[in-house]
């Protein structure tokens, strides 16, 4: 298991993050506390600002507020220094050229200035993508591409991992394997923040959760408390059943508060 390069892991902290896109305020006064060794799920309905929050945390969109990774303000770091602390995994890569898998993973070493074959191989093995080595990235299935993107993020040896719906195009077995991997990465000392679409996955695999709606944090804290029936009904309009393993549409006839 590849470990983060920075020994002084203190997690990710954001204060007063706000993002405006044109006339629309996409994020408003968002605070984030993601601790090392824990998986933090970012949840919310479509258009809640989940992906934008991740981009803002990675410094990839113009945002106001402060983001600190392991106690260091990201605004004070160069792009390369930032990439060595915070790794971002997009939902889908925009890569359309026929680079081979190991060349894509080696991109994660750019911020270090050296390719380091060992780091590339270790990242591929950790992300369970070693068997894809030698293949052309664009000819892989979306689920396989996602594993390669995770490997590329691991090759940066960043202590903070931000993942935007990594399981969106994966089947159930792949999705469970991905979440198991995220838990392993957190156990190795990384700070993992992941946008999750499926509430049952968040319920099962996340330690903490941030519930967004309309660009604002509705609730944050332990996943078991944040993903409680009340907030979920308020934000998603769904009813939680069987301890978070199943969700049904909430209707007015459902009656009283849980």
């Amino acid at each position: 298991m590849s470990a983060p390069e920075n020994a002084d892991v203190r997690g990710l902290e954001a204060r007063g993050l706000a993002v405006r896109r044109g006339a629309r305020q996409v994020l408003m006064d968002v605070d984030v506390d993601a601790a090392p060794g824990r998986v933090t799920a970012v949840l919310g309905p479509n258009g809640a600002g989940k992906s934008t929050l991740l981009l803002a945390l990675a410094g990839l969109v113009r945002a106001t507020g402060h983001v600190r990774a392991d106690g260091v303000d990201l605004a004070e770091l160069s792009l390369r220094e930032r990439a060595r602390r915070v790794a971002y995994v997009p939902q889908r890569s925009q890569l359309r050229s026929a680079l081979r898998v190991e060349e894509v993973v080696a991109q994660g070493r750019y911020a270090h200035g050296s390719r380091s074959e060992d780091a590339v191989r270790e990242a591929l093995e950790t992300a369970r993508a070693a068997e894809l080595e030698g293949r052309v990235f664009t000819r892989l299935s979306v689920g396989e591409q996602q594993r390669v993107l995770v490997a590329r993020a691991l090759a940066t040896r960043a202590s903070v991992l931000l993942l935007d719906e990594p399981t969106a195009s994966q089947d159930i077995a792949q999705a469970l394997a991905t979440f198991a991997l995220l838990r392993e990465l957190a156990a190795a000392g990384r700070t993992v923040a992941v946008v999750v679409h499926a509430l049952e996955h968040a319920h099962r695999f996340a330690d903490d959760a941030i519930l967004l709606d309309g660009g604002k944090v509705v609730r944050t804290g332990l996943a078991t408390e944040t993903l409680a029936p009340g907030p979920l009904r308020e934000v998603f309009g769904v009813r939680m059943e069987r301890g978070g393993l199943r969700f049904e549409l909430h209707t007015a006839s459902d009656g009283s508060e849980p």
Binding site: P90, S93, A111
Partner: protein, 328 residues
């Protein structure tokens, strides 16, 4: 990781192809090498011509590799995006300035490469400003086409200004048609450092260009200063195109044909593709120059005509294939 065997096979193939091409380049042409009095002179002239053609081709193919990475589009090339036309316009303007206005501050030999450099860089800066980085193939090609048309119109205007002097008019026209016949030792001496520096710098930026293939957002997340890479990629492409155009005038399609032909063997990664494209581009233009000399005609067929006859149909085939892939 060791390079795959197909890379080795590619370079062996290129070297094997180089032998007959270079031999033909030295043997084909007007003048008898066996002539006791003039044989050595003919040989020296042909060597100059081979060197000019090789350097121009290497630079244009190298520029093609960089510009395709910059725009994330295998159909981009200096000639299609108007960079060649911009460089040629700059070179023509420099020729005119030297002759008509009487610029004395800079030597005339220096003025042409300098003009080419300024013209090529201006064309790429205008293109980048108009498009930013776009995935829209049509917008990219149409903007390149419009810029080319603009530069060619201004070139035509400059040509009309040069008609009063026969020599100047001929020099200006030969720039727009392309050809390495007029390049002598002074032009080679000026273009060589431009091209060598441009190629080394392009190789140095290869990894950043690889990352740019994944789009601006991903590249930035991995530590790439996208604006800086764009600026320097445009600068080094301009240096390469300026070096090539100052040697061979407006030779089109080399930057498109050569990287495309070699990509299946060398791969997409810029540091693998660039050296192969340099060698392949050089040989391609030397071969086209041999064809230009060998084809029966009154006088000599301009080099740009031969590269255009090969490159334009290939461009159309590529365009059709790419649109088909996008539709699928």
């Amino acid at each position: 990781m060791s390079p795959p065997p197909r890379s080795l096979r590619l370079y062996v193939g290129l070297v094997l192809v180089a032998v007959p091409i270079l031999a033909a380049a030295l043997l084909v042409g007007a003048g008898d090498l066996g002539d006791v009095r003039l044989g050595d002179t003919f040989l020296a002239l042909r060597l100059q011509r081979v060197a000019s053609a090789f350097l121009a081709g290497a630079a244009l193919a190298g520029g093609g590799v960089v510009v395709q990475g910059l725009f994330r589009n295998p159909l981009a090339s200096p000639s299609i995006l108007g960079t060649n036309a911009g460089a040629a316009l700059g070179g023509q303007a420099a020729l005119l300035a030297a002759q008509l206005v009487g610029v004395r501050a800079v030597a005339p030999e220096l003025l042409v490469p300098l003009g080419c450099l300024m013209g090529a860089f201006a064309s790429l800066v205008i293109l980048l400003a108009l498009l930013r980085i776009t995935d829209d193939l049509l917008a990219l090609l149409l903007t390149g086409f419009a810029l080319s048309a603009l530069f060619l119109s201004i070139s035509a205007f400059l040509t009309s200004l040069a008609q009063e002097s026969f020599e100047l008019g001929r020099a200006v026209v030969s720039f727009s048609l392309g050809g390495v016949a007029g390049a002598g030792p002074p032009q080679l001496a000026l273009a060589l450092p431009l091209i060598v520096v441009g190629l080394l710098a392009a190789f140095g930026w290869g990894r950043a260009l690889d990352l740019l293939l994944s789009g601006e957002e991903e590249a930035r997340s991995l530590g790439v200063d996208v604006r800086q890479v764009r600026f320097f990629a445009a600068l080094w492409t301009s240096v390469l195109v300026a070096g090539a155009v100052s040697l061979g005038g407006n030779v089109s399609f080399v930057g498109l044909v050569v990287p495309h032909a070699l990509r299946p063997f060398a791969g997409v990664a810029h540091r693998r593709l660039l050296p192969a494209a340099v060698l392949g581009g050089g040989l391609f233009v030397v071969l086209c120059d041999v064809v230009a000399r060998a084809l029966p005609s009154q006088g000599e067929i301009p080099l740009g005509v031969v590269t255009g006859l090969v490159g334009a149909p290939l461009f159309l085939v590529l365009l059709a294939r790419m649109r088909k892939e996008l539709a699928a």
